[in-house]
Symmetry: C2
Subunit: 141 residues, 2 copies
DNA sequence: TACAATTTAATTGTACACAATTTAATTAAT
DNA sequence: ATTAATTAAATTGTGTACAATTAAATTGTA
């Protein structure tokens, strides 16, 4: 069998596996605030922006409406966001943070430090990883 | 809003996003051999091992039977693998490569080079990334 | 040897991902 | 101003992920 097909010679596989392992580490902390990982990163955008439409949110998260529509309905049912059409362009669905959703950031702000303790990379490794990952993300544009 | 909750200050997010972006780059090539990405990495293990049980396969891929059972049934229906209980221990389901599945590696072996052209990292960056990702994967053990 | 504990897959249920299509609203072109 | 093209979100359908439970086989132990 060709070496290029061995799992240990792939870059894609540890990328995929490490991504899932890190998300798995978030789970116990996210359970405490009743969010999934994808809901958490959507909330991160909202904590920052307060208001955004689905298209823009999708651009930031690399997700489309097929994923976001049900996810945002769930966040609405949890009381963290509101969903309403833009009056200036009815095609746009505006997502707004509720006060309940805003309040959630207090508890959430404790999570990054907790995760840092679980990952165990040096500051330099973390920075290097960050830069290479964004280089990969930049490739497609 | 606290900076630690900004999306651009997370390491987990570019990891998650880059993983999906890379898998997305595989799609047109994997479509040609009628495999999804997860099916592809499962086949990689089989091209290497010829025979393996579900538990071991799950250990290698960081996946459990909830994901693998339906995936392996699909690969069986495509004729690439066979599924049969081990005679020495009926709890174990042995996955074996069929000749059809083995033949598939010829076409598949062309994919890594094609992907390499899409990712555009230097050899050094690729090696650095690989090592850091496996360091993350090693953390949990 | 019984029987409790463990192990392996399968199953069930929830939540993404994402391609492809549909629907409604807006914009562009005639 | 109509109609064609475009855009945004929702919908549909397939395939993962993964927690939790179940069922069957095996192993350990009194």
């Amino acid at each position: 069998m060709k070496d290029c097909l061995k799992l240990e010679n792939q870059l894609c596989f540890p990328l995929y596996a490490a991504s899932r392992e890190v998300i798995r580490k978030y789970k116990p902390f996210l359970d405490e605030i009743n969010l999934t990982y994808t809901q958490y990163i959507a909330m991160m955008v909202l904590w920052d922006m307060k208001e955004i439409n689905v298209k823009e949110l999708g651009n930031k998260l690399y997700l489309d409406s097929g994923t976001l529509t049900p996810l945002l309905k769930t966040l609405e049912s949890k009381g963290y966001i509101s969903r309403s059409r833009s009056s200036s362009d009815e095609r746009n669905l505006m997502i707004c943070l509720t006060s309940e959703g805003s309040k959630l950031s207090e508890k959430a702000s404790l999570i990054p430090a907790k995760i840092g303790k679980c990952i165990c990379l040096s500051d330099e490794e973390a920075m290097t990883l960050y830069n290479i990952l964004y280089k990969i993300l930049g490739n497609g544009e």
